[in-house]
Symmetry: C2
Subunit: 372 residues, 2 copies
Amino acid sequence: MIGAAVADSREMSHTPPTIYDVARAAEVSIASVSRVLNGSRNPRQETKDRVLQAVAELGFVPDGAARALSARLKEVVGVVIRRVRWVPATEGNFAEEDESLQFPDVINRGIEIAAQQQGFNLLLSSVDVDAHDVRARLLALTRKCDGLILHDRLLEPEELELLARRVPIVTLANVSTQATVNVQGDNEAGMRELARHLLRDHGYRTIGYLAGLADSPDSMARQQAVAAEVDAAGATLQSGPQWQGNYYASGGTRVIEGLISSGASLPRAIICANDQTALGVMYALGQRGVEVPRDVAVTGFDDIAMARHLRPQLTTVRQPIQEMGATAFELLHSMISNGLPAEHNIVLPTRLILRESCGCPPESTLPARRAG
Amino acid sequence: MIGAAVADSREMSHTPPTIYDVARAAEVSIASVSRVLNGSRNPRQETKDRVLQAVAELGFVPDGAARALSARLKEVVGVVIRRVRWVPATEGNFAEEDESLQFPDVINRGIEIAAQQQGFNLLLSSVDVDAHDVRARLLALTRKCDGLILHDRLLEPEELELLARRVPIVTLANVSTQATVNVQGDNEAGMRELARHLLRDHGYRTIGYLAGLADSPDSMARQQAVAAEVDAAGATLQSGPQWQGNYYASGGTRVIEGLISSGASLPRAIICANDQTALGVMYALGQRGVEVPRDVAVTGFDDIAMARHLRPQLTTVRQPIQEMGATAFELLHSMISNGLPAEHNIVLPTRLILRESCGCPPESTLPARRAG
DNA sequence: CTGAAAGCGCTTACAG
DNA sequence: CTGAAAGCGCTTACAG
């Protein structure tokens, strides 16, 4: 098909055919070509036929930049994720730069699939957590797409509102502002349920919370939920600087190693800010001969695919990851044409997934209930 | 900075400032604005100052589409990966759609970081393995970017050459053609070394090869390397339709479950096409009470971050993943301005990484040598 | 229903 | 060194 198109083209030059070439071949005006291609103001059947044939013969595809400039729509959505600084090799084995963050990656897949259905493409950027030029880079992105989807806390709310004057913005796992819409999982409900399970069903009395990126709204909300439940149960919470992770497995590993080598005694259960952290935690505990869940229970958040493939399988809170991405795109898409929606914060449901790492028996669906 | 810029702008309207606004504010021509912004034909200092100040005051950022149309350069590189079909929910737990493929994801990070240094952005698309409209979609992409990086075997060589008439193309883990350049890891050397290790150092006599996507050049090359070494050692290779995976953990799981439930006897060692498959294999074996590496040894390929976090730790072949991405971008970037390079197939070195899953003792760097 | 023409916001010869 | 003008390849009122 491309084959025929390109091969038959009389114009073997390296410059692709333009709408003028098509118009000439079809013996119509460029306006007509544009109309049949965009299905506007339905042209006569004969016109359609001639244009379509010329298009096929020449293998014509409209230039995106010209289309964007003229139609004032690029059909591109910018997506920006946070990553940790990339260190140019020479670093130790556990550097984060090798690790890809599954949660945002799967969200992006959801965005892309939804975008594709509307003929949009996805322009992907990543930004170091401690980059100094975030604002400038986002501002530049602003002119290469019709709207922005920003993961996590890339910008403070005030800056977000400023940026939103340039282009519609949907955030993921942040907070909504007057000018931007946010999509998130129900951290509060999910984490409270998980904490209650550990405290009540398993009866654990000391809990550690291994945080994600320090300023991440998800991590902060999850920590608060844990703290509230631990409080209510009269149990003890360990958290703070020593417990500062970064959402990567390597961050989890580093925290556990720091804790153990500082001589701290480990809590009975460690609640991780996300699954990937839990992976690193389970690894580090294993290295030190601490058995999960017998000695220390470990839990995650997200329910990425890998959570089921670990041994012991990971107890976690499931978020509808792809759906979060699709929702973010659909909101943005509607904002591009219709402006801000009524609701600025979309909270998608989460669900506790009990597997083995919390201390539940394998294959269990209902955990053994202990005294309330 | 955005703050000041946007807030000070006299023009509070929703349409961003254009180069005309800047020219007016600076009292120069638009040509001069363009020149100072692009650093061409160095203008007078005073001109520079006035333009720069106007730009700052207005928060001007040039429109990407207009720039692209005029300069005939979009500063966008298209990247296309393959994924398995996305099934809209209602599917079982182990559906691949939740899983993100680490290897291409990390490559893409490498591409993006290299691209950023040249002021390029990355336009990401994914395509179902069995999509029928691959050609059409790629053809359309062609007009939204300056060049394409295609993962795996998205197109047959002939179609690739046709597409390459439209835009420079670099493939990853494919084969080079007269018109396209390919970047890959050294499958042959890496896999041969791994196979020899299993055959000679561990003395395994039956080996299974769990393939990736059937038409994937990486998987085929790896299988050939395994077959050659197994042959040379006079051992037995199991492979074929029953051993058909898809690079996902869930694919590995499915194969093992199929094998076991069909009553087949497992080989002494299973060489997986990539690490993620090995993850699923180790999980499935564990479920059935088969201990790794005692009963069956398992190996991977790629050395993604997770390989070190598994228990037992995964023996694998390391590829310089981020570097493969960066190399692909740099090649493409040079092709965009200078055309095809001399060398069309870039092979980056791989390295055997011995860990526990092959049967080596923990922490070992040198395996116990058996009789040759 | 169709065509001629203006315009989208830039860059870049071309003069001066 | 700088400005006026043409042109990049489309879409879309505006006439007819």
